[in-house]
């Protein structure tokens, strides 16, 4: 029964939820609009950036991470880090295969 700090449970109210809802809807509109504009190299990056922003909003407010314990935050950070490791280290192989003719 360690880590019982911060034991008051935070209740996030409808105001925040409504605000987040509109932010998410705005993000959706924005990302669809951005995809119809030719930004070349930046198109996928912007799409992913908007998606990440939306996901972060959902995480922080709908999923209450903002009010969670450090442990939860750490666990999520660790999980995301490992997810990125899986993707990036696998991609590193595929990208660097083309670097030289071995």
């Amino acid at each position: 029964m360690s880590e019982q700090n911060g034991h008051a449970h935070t209740i996030v109210g409808p105001g925040v939820y409504v605000a987040i809802l509109f932010a998410l809807l705005a993000g959706t509109v924005l990302t669809v609009w951005a995809s119809f504009v030719d930004l070349g190299f930046w198109n996928p990056i912007i799409a992913l950036a908007i998606a990440t922003t939306k996901a972060t909003l959902v995480l922080l407010y709908f999923m209450h991470v903002k009010y969670s314990t450090k442990l939860t935050k750490l666990a999520i950070a660790g999980g995301v880090f490992l997810f990125l490791t899986l993707v990036s280290m696998t991609l590193a192989d595929y990208i660097s295969r083309a670097w030289g003719s071995w």
Binding site: M1, S2, E3, L71, G78, G79, L82, T85, L86, M89, T90, A92, D93, Y94, I95, S96, R97, A98, W99, G100, W102
Partner: protein, 559 residues
């Protein structure tokens, strides 16, 4: 020899196994099948994993018999391939991975941290059922024709070129994977949230630290093999093409996903062993583990680093040479925490008061065999050397040194060490020592010749082999028969001890862990009241003070 031991058994004339314990609480098959008691689930795991071990071991015996002669004259090539596939799949996914967490982890984690049960008891039972269902898929697959892909399911062989029961086998692994995930979640949550008052992180036994590290791997790596098994099944059923080079897919991608789990999985197998060894070494040298923090953090470091090394299984498979460099370097780094552990265990003995009971003998065996396994692991992680020795018997010898020499030795150590806690009875000590020695000799005789065979170039998974390799293979097979005796003997005397073993009492080893502060076998609730941890782990002085107090009070039955 009994003067050497620290066993402090109660007076056998008057001692009884406590009437009220987790084994006797309820009777009947249903009370076992619907139990939520972590200790009963551990026993269930012990029975099922032993069953799978027998299957895998029988396959191994047939393989070694076949390899007595260079010409495949006992079974056909197809049967031989199915035998080693069954051996691999069963031993990896249904014995090595679940055994330490399923049996010792389930039994001990709540006891060691002073909790009544794991955090999610129903999920715990569910995970045993998933394990059994997964196992049933494998049994079904075996009975109705077997699978001949090897345990690695290399694409496109497994997806396009074999006609055996790949889908059944993959399904079994998929389901058993969820069993691992749920066990991992359960352990992490239990260790975080269920610790007794005063049980701070740095008072935890090192056993808990290494199981915590194991669980991290369970939770984060297992889903990736789940998805790769799903992809294998879909590729076979409808041909989605992700691993099919003729459709533009890359078969190597499967290996990336597969090894992203399967390399950390070998640490799933060895980390619990390291935890067991820490407990055993500390107890039988009556000394706190040397460098507690270093050993604790090295467990976590192994778990973390293990995620960055997976492609070292693919050095000659056409991955980019640059990323091979990266993965080789990380593989070197993961060897460091292992080395730290070995040196710390050795240093623990310094100025201890050492006795040589069965668990300790197994622990010594573990250190030696694990060191050899680890050193050869470094050779395999070295890029250049890997070219020559990968995919040969060198690999086979290496991972058997780590898995069988390391993990199974450690598990035997743990099983003997906690046997009195689990059953309330002692095993016969001299037979135990004999078995430990036989196991050590048999193991080395079996697998050391395989290092030489590997360097000579004998490929793994060969049914026929060039005749000049026969002498070493015969040596290996003869060792395997000694090894078989080494496994059979404990099975026999442990079963014997269930009825006839000496009554163990609460703390036969005079060990410090909380699990020894309750009765043997424990109550269903583990403790009559939740203990308060007021001392460091491995504090033998505290134990002495306490037993002195107990003697002074002279309470007839403190429990």
């Amino acid at each position: 020899m009994s003067t050497n031991t620290i066993v402090s058994l109660p007076d056998q004339e008057t001692a009884r196994i406590p009437k009220k314990n987790f084994l006797t609480k309820e009777n009947g098959l249903l009370s076992w099948l619907l139990t939520r008691d972590h200790k009963r689930i551990a026993i269930l795991y012990l029975i099922t994993t032993t069953f799978f071990f027998i299957i895998g071991g029988a396959a191994a015996a047939l393989i070694r018999l076949e390899l007595l002669t260079p010409t495949g004259d006992m079974v056909s090539s197809d049967t031989y391939n199915k035998l080693f596939s069954i051996h691999g799949i069963i031993m990896v996914f249904f014995f090595l991975v679940p055994i330490a967490p399923g049996v010792l982890g389930n039994f001990l984690i709540p006891l060691m941290i002073g909790a009544k049960d794991v955090a999610l008891p129903r999920i715990n039972l569910l995970s045993w059922y998933l394990f059994v269902i997964g196992g049933c898929f494998e049994l079904y697959m075996m009975i109705f024709g077997g699978v001949d892909t090897g345990w690695t399911f290399t694409t496109p062989l497994s997806t396009h070129y074999v006609n055996s029961h790949v889908i059944g086998a993959a399904m079994g692994i998929f389901i058993a994977g969820f069993s691992s995930i749920l066990t991992g979640i359960n352990f992490i949550v239990t260790i975080h949230k269920m610790r007794a008052p005063g049980m701070t992180w740095f008072r935890l036994p090192l056993f808990i630290w290494s199981y915590y590290a194991t669980s991290i791997i369970f939770v984060l790596a297992t889903p990736v093999i789940a998805i790769s098994m799903v992809l294998i099944m879909l590729e076979r059923v409808i041909g989605i093409g992700l691993f099919d080079p003729t459709k533009g897919g890359d078969p190597l991608l499967f290996q990336h996903l597969f090894w992203f789990y399967s390399h950390p999985a070998v640490y799933v197998m060895i980390l619990p062993g390291m935890g067991i060894i820490s407990e055993v070494i500390s107890n039988f040298s009556r000394k706190r583990v040397f460098g507690y923090t270093a050993v604790a953090f090295s467990s976590v470091a192994i778990a973390v680093f293990s995620f960055f090394v997976w492609a070292h299984h693919m050095f000659i498979m056409g991955i980019s040479t640059y990323s091979a460099l990266l993965f080789s370097l990380f593989s070197m780094l993961v060897a460091i925490p292992s080395a730290i552990k070995v040196f710390n265990w050795s240093a623990t003995l310094y100025k201890g008061s050492i006795t040589f009971d069965t668990p300790m003998l197994y622990a010594f065996g573990f250190i030696g065999l694990f060191t050899i396994g680890g050193c050869t692991g470094v050779m395999l992680a070295t890029l250049g050397m890997d070219i020559h020795v990968t995919e040969t018997y060198f690999i086979v010898a290496h991972f058997h040194y780590v898995m069988v020499g390391g993990m199974v030795s450690a598990f035997m150590a743990g099983l003997h060490f906690w046997w009195p806690k689990m059953t309330g009875r002692m095993y016969p000590e001299s037979l135990g020592r004999l078995a430990a020695v036989i196991l050590f000799i048999g193991f080395n005789l079996t697998f050391f010749p395989q290092f030489i065979l590997g360097y000579l170039g004998m490929p793994r998974r060969y049914h026929f082999y060039p005749p000049e390799f026969q002498a070493l293979n015969v040596l290996s097979t003869s060792g395997a028969s000694i090894l078989a005796i080494g496994y059979l003997l404990p099975a026999l005397y442990l079963i014997w001890s269930l009825r006839h073993g000496a009554i163990a009492g609460n703390n036969p080893w005079q060990a410090t862990g909380l699990e020894w502060q309750t009765q043997s076998p424990p109550l269903t609730e583990n403790f009559t009241e939740i203990p308060i941890m007021d001392h460091e782990a491995y504090d033998y002085a505290w134990l002495e003070r306490q037993s002195r107090d107990n003697r002074r009070e002279e309470a007839p039955s403190a429990e």
